[in-house]
Symmetry: C2
Subunit: 346 residues, 2 copies
């Protein structure tokens, strides 16, 4: 089976004129008579002509498309970012091509090769948690590929970046727990090495400093963000629960970590927030109807996507090389619900 769309040559043959005339007529060139334009445009519309983007890309080395590299589409936060990117890109006539890394460095390298050879005009990327060596990206950037980082950024590459205020978000969440009389606060977060992990950990630490409380190393657990991380999370929770000085609150990141933590606590019959307060990072609409309603840090995904796309398109359209880059920091929102209500234990 083979499918072929209508081309300029098809139109030219059908109307018994040359391909160049058709091309010019379609682009409304002043060289072409009104009558010819009329005929060509009518025929083109009737036969649903659309230029072949592959030919255009080949011809101009530009494709009016941008690549997006994210860890996983299943994460609602990233899905919202994509929607934000698309809303801007489509307005400017750009198509978007999405590639997932599933938290694998190899997949990231492969996806990016795929995308760049598709002649994308720019790249939006949130790194995989396995990515430490960024030479594959630095390589492209130095060759002039416009690139913008979002959410998970690298400090080794100088370009525009858009992040949420992970430090402040974690600080606020942790401080909120202190304010509500919790003092033994555990933090279950993503793998070390990620910018978001570091920033959140720093916020968590800062809150402890503010409250003149020592950070307990055993209270900090790193889990991977891959699909099969449930066992890891379960182990982390069990270890926390078995500590002699058991935490009275858990501050968790990501949807999977948060929902798994809640499931375990419920299963063990641990009352939330009575015996254990919980705060999560989540954009899920279900947060408000969890048992109990979950205090959560909400990240403006759609907005982040829009900002990142605008910055990328400004790079793509810039005639001269850009050397001054900015890092946009978007505020997070702490939405307080019952899961972190004032502790009555102390």
């Amino acid at each position: 089976m083979n499918f072929k769309a209508i081309t300029i040559t098809d139109i030219a043959k059908a109307l018994n004129i040359s391909a160049s005339t058709v091309s010019k007529a379609l682009s409304d060139s002043y060289e072409i008579s009104a009558k010819t334009k009329q005929i060509v445009l009518t025929y083109a519309r009737e036969h649903n002509y659309r230029p072949n983007p592959n030919a255009i890309s080949l011809k101009f080395g530009s494709s009016l498309s941008i690549g997006i590299v994210i860890p996983s589409i299943q994460n609602q936060f990233f899905a919202q970012i994509i929607d934000g990117i698309e809303s801007v890109a489509h307005d400017e006539g750009f198509t978007v091509i999405i590639a997932q890394t599933h938290e694998s460095y190899d997949m990231e390298v492969k996806s990016i090769q795929q995308l760049t050879h598709r002649a994308i005009d720019g790249l939006l990327i949130s790194q995989s948690s396995e990515t430490f060596d960024v030479s594959h990206l630095e390589n492209l950037r130095s060759k002039g590929l416009p690139m913008v980082f979002f959410d998970r950024v690298s400090d080794q590459i100088d370009t525009h970046k858009v992040v949420t205020d992970n430090f402040q978000g974690a600080l606020n969440a942790t401080q909120h727990l202190f304010d509500n009389n919790y003092s033994r606060i555990a933090h279950i977060t993503g793998p070390e090495g990620l910018s978001i992990t570091t920033d959140r950990l720093n916020g968590y630490r800062q809150a402890h400093a503010q409250n003149k409380t020592q950070v307990t190393a055993d209270y900090i657990k790193h889990c991977s963000y891959t699909n099969n991380n449930v066992a890891e999370i379960e182990r982390a929770v069990h270890e926390l629960l078995q500590l002699p000085d058991r935490p009275d609150a858990i501050f968790a990141t990501s949807d999977t970590i948060t929902s798994t933590v809640l499931l375990l606590l419920n299963k063990l019959g641990i009352k939330i927030p009575g015996q254990m307060a919980v705060i999560g990072f989540t954009n899920s609409s279900f947060a408000a109807v969890l048992a109990p309603p979950l205090t959560s840090v909400f990240q403006p995904g759609f907005l982040m996507g829009q900002k990142a796309a605008r910055l990328l398109l400004s790079l793509v359209k810039s005639k001269k090389a850009v050397t001054e880059f900015e890092t946009v920091v978007l505020p997070m929102q702490l939405i307080v619900r019952e899961s972190s209500s004032v502790s009555i234990q102390v």
Copy 2:
């Protein structure tokens, strides 16, 4: 700024040989000497050569890529389907291009035009809820574009289809409510016209027939699946609650509808399942930790994506026109939790 990847001509020039020799060497042609191959391959690897897909697509009218058209990436069910599709497509060397319709007919038409002119080899589609006229699809199919429908299918187009057993899923969910002593069962579902809406409604009706219970028209509410449907859902719930013969159970579809229903019931202080049982259609990992844990119909998204992709690739690879099509029906799973526990009211 302009970014260019290395081409066959670049390699040819650098090595002082012809482009055709390079091309053949890269494809390991028997015409080329081992030594030349060695030199070319080494150089190509070192300089990270990858063929330009636009050139390939233009040359062969095939792109080793397939298009996916879905309503929204934010729906976790569709995100899972995409992962399923990718897992199959990547294994076979195909790239995937995703387009969202956001439930708009115009966006659907536009996206599909975009995709087909990118020389995709096949199309996987789940229709928008606004799509009644399918001539844009029939057009492509008749011209030979391999096409597979999934989830939301059209009965006006003859091709492979993959669906979940919406009839059985709705039947089981409704029957489960009857079994647990509920008899005034409301159904809040998607817009009329969608295959999934009809099938679920039929399952709901069948359950009523089995239990010799009349279906009450006022108990059936249709809401759109767009992003801004909260007001609609709120109105539907309020109307249900104000009925003289108020329902004692709600069977809802989709994540937004389900979470909004739960939020409203909680806000109004209506006990679940004491005063109102709830069953939802959701794949969210949060279902188990909702207040109360939600009985839900789980749809095998990943599997659906895999099946659909395999069927599409079989069409793409088939040398002769395929005229016998199949409709794969995947079973759903009713996961029983507290939100539909046995009623003690009756």
